[in-house]
């Protein structure tokens, strides 16, 4: 959930959520095998009880509460409580049924048959059937629907309803991310059929099948959801979830201290310096796990300075990434080398790492033709000095600080860098979309499925598409297509391993770091069990023992 992210991840997910990571549950709930609970008092077992309310802080307000239209983490954070997909990831990042009871994949890997649960009801009492799935599918592939998640569904050749609880989808070619893609939130056809989805009142007052039902949304202030007593997995213990929008992390922290928040994501400084008091140890628990996302410095490959991969390798070699992890994240993160999350199955640790070495970087730049011929301390080539501007989104202090360290490191090898933080909307519209930048400091969320076609395929370079650095490598295109068409996990990994080697060699990005998610949660909440998928996966099983309950919410 959003509140479990530091501001850095929230901002990257809010706006550039990967189209590949349809599994918003996965991306927003921060899974990692290395989850760690930091607490002084062990959680004592006690009787689960219904009741109480959890108040969570979030930096940004949701934009729309229908999963098909949403593309930011704040919205998915809420829709994840209200809607279900056909499948979901369990705590160990294994795909399991959610609204689907089971599924069968045909031997040719082209057809998948889903069997739906028969005991699922929409929150208004209507039964959930294949009619809803069909409507959802049609909405996603409708060119008039403004959704970022059509890609996976467009691969479907045929959608066949067999009976109210069984349906079949056929793909034109084997498509490994297919199963994952059905984790997208299902929409109620009886409320939406025949209406314009972008005009639907459900955008602000959704009806789903999930553990919580919508109650109230005050823009830029709060969103309230109440527990769904008829939830097919059983009534959730916590009666109400109140999500408060507090745009400033420092203010949010003060609210936490004042007892007006139960959960928020801490910044590295708050985690290391401000929450170690006795009061915090007694009243809160802190968690720490690698976020599903990374921060990078991307080079516009249309710019002549960055066309030579030798130059990009030298730039990476010149940047002290350990220093960034230490100075910006206070050690609460890891250096990134590939676009996959370390310690997940798909990560390839054996790629070229380009360790920090300013002298070697200078030498590499000299080999690429960049030397200081006029003695002004700035490298030049063909009479032009090596100067460029890094743009980043305004208000993300961690990114601005990382850029400052990069600026210093590159000055040491004779490259002058300017930093320009730009307000987000203008940043996307005037700079990223128009390819009007030299280098950008940004982040991506990492999906659980390894397919990253949208970011690296040479055909995804159109306006508003995600390969905005214009990375073109035919071998990568082939590998990613092969990876997507392969169901066999080990075979598939070979393709992605090779893909990571090529990316590490080409260095279209300088991969900077993967930071830790640092959620802090009031100690009165029990049942939180950190797992590879983070802590949010069993939110409906969190509870407050009767004697600790703080708010009395009528069920």
């Amino acid at each position: 959930m959003t509140s479990t992210h530091g501001p850095i991840i929230t901002i990257l997910l809010v706006f550039l959520i990967l189209t590949g990571c349809d599994q918003h549950k996965a991306t927003t709930k921060d899974p990692s095998p290395k989850t760690e609970t930091v607490t002084s008092i062990a959680e004592t077992e006690s009787e689960p009880a219904y009741g109480d309310m959890i108040i969570r802080g979030t930096i940004g307000d949701a934009s729309v509460l229908l999963p098909v239209l949403a593309n930011d983490a704040s919205s998915f954070d809420i829709t994840g409580l209200i809607f279900n997909g056909l499948v979901k990831y369990d705590k160990d990042i294994q795909l399991v049924g959610d609204l689907a009871e089971k599924w069968e994949i045909a031997d040719d890997k082209l057809t998948i048959r889903f069997f739906l649960r028969k005991d699922v009801k929409w929150q208004d009492g209507q039964p959930f059937t294949t009619k809803d799935v069909e409507y959802t599918y049609k909405t996603y592939v409708n060119p008039k629907t403004p959704t970022a998640y059509a890609t996976d569904f467009l691969k479907v050749k045929e959608f066949r309803v067999l009976d109210p609880y069984t349906f079949e989808v056929t793909y034109t070619e084997p498509y490994a991310p297919a199963l994952t893609s059905w984790g997208q939130g299902m929409l109620p056809s009886h409320l939406l059929e025949g209406t314009e989805i972008t005009e639907s009142p459900l955008k602000r007052a959704p009806v789903g099948t999930g553990p919580y039902r919508f109650r109230e949304w005050k823009t830029q202030e709060k969103i309230v959801v109440d527990s769904n007593h008829d939830y097919f997995e059983g009534r959730p213990y916590i009666n109400r979830v109140l999500t408060r929008v507090i745009p400033d992390p420092a203010t949010m922290f003060l609210e936490l201290k004042a007892g007006r928040l139960d959960q928020m994501g801490l910044s590295p400084l708050q985690y290391t310096r401000q929450t170690n008091t006795k009061w915090f140890n007694e009243n809160f628990r802190k968690y720490k796990y690698l976020a599903f996302g990374y921060t990078y410095l991307g080079y516009n490959l249309l710019d002549w300075k960055f066309k030579d991969k030798k130059v990009r390798q030298a730039l990476t070699t010149a940047i002290d990434r350990d220093g960034i992890v230490k100075g910006v994240l206070l050690g609460l993160g890891e250096v990134a080398y590939t676009p996959y999350k370390p310690d997940t199955y798909w990560y390839n640790p054996n790629v070229k790492k380009w360790p920090y070495d300013p002298e070697k970087a200078k030498q590499m730049l000299a080999e690429a033709g960049w030397t200081d011929t006029d003695g002004d301390g700035i490298l030049d080539k063909d009479g032009k000095p090596f100067k460029f501007t890094i743009i980043t989104n305004q208000g993300n202090q961690l990114r601005e600080r990382a850029a400052t360290i990069i600026q210093r490191d590159l000055r040491r090898v004779g490259i002058r860098v300017k930093i320009r933080p730009i307000e987000w909307a203008a940043f996307l519209k005037n700079f990223i979309d128009r390819r009007n930048f030299e280098a950008c400091l940004l982040g991506w969320g990492i999906g659980i499925d390894p397919s990253q076609i949208d970011i690296w395929n040479s055909k995804k370079t159109g306006e508003r598409e995600l390969n905005f650095i214009t990375y073109v490598n035919p071998e990568v295109d082939t590998l990613l297509d092969q990876g997507a068409a392969t169901y066999d996990r080990e075979k598939r990994k070979e393709y992605y391993d090779r893909f990571q080697e090529i990316i590490a060699e080409d260095q279209p990005y300088t991969f900077l770091f993967v930071s830790y998610s640092l959620p802090i949660i009031s100690a009165r909440f029990h049942g939180i069990k950190p797992a590879p998928l983070g802590i949010g996966y069993n939110f409906d099983r969190w509870y407050v023992p009767k004697h600790l309950q703080k708010y009395h919410i009528a069920p």
Partner: protein
Amino acid sequence: MYADFLRRLARDKLAMVGLCVVAVLFFVAMFADFLAPYPPDRIDVEKILVEPSRDHLMGTDPLGRDVLSRIIHGSGVSLSVGFVAVGISTFIGVILGAASGYYGGLADRIIMRFVDIMLCFPTFFLILAVIAFLQPSIWNIMIVIGITSWMGVTRLVRAEFLSLRERDFVRAAVSQGASDLRIIFLHVLPNAMAPILVAATLGVASAVLVESSLSFLGLGVQPPDPSWGNMLTEGKDNIEIAWWLSLFPGLAIFITVMGYNLLGEGIRDTLDPRLRR
């Protein structure tokens, strides 16, 4: 006359305090490279948010940079923004005020209505809107502050001109066939210098404040260039654990603004014949 003015100014203790503050600021800004113990952008990840100590008299910021050095280098930013902005606003104000006051009639009415219109806008929000269109940078800030704060000067200059143009020395100049420009700039304007000087001095103080506010909001001087305003932003975010990040840049702004205000008011009191003892 000037000797008399200076003697009386020297007797005004508060004005002298202001003058000293301003002089010290100039000195610091000019010799920042020699005075600062460290380069302002020297990052040291081993010394993040260190309390004030002998090594770092005002502590360090979240990147381990020395706060004292950054304040010293920030003084140049504040002063140059103050002076350039006031230069622009005074220039516009004098031209429009002189035209309005000297010619009167239709020109006067048009200019004064324009002043009224400009005064209707809440200046700070006008600046915010303009900066949102342009990109925030130190140059844009100077220009924008300059072109949104000339109205006061215009009214002052107009008032001076209205009374001065009726004086005998102006009539004498007219009768001798002096051109309008000559009369305005060589005869009338020098006699109107005193209120302009006061307005300009006070204007610097408010320009410094506006620059700090804009930088505080992230719309002014862009990091990593140090400015007192953007240092305060970092201070706000860490106020619980690093008081020095808020206190020292805040004090710097306070002292600077107070210095200019004291000086400006001192000059005004000295020039005001009604307060003459």
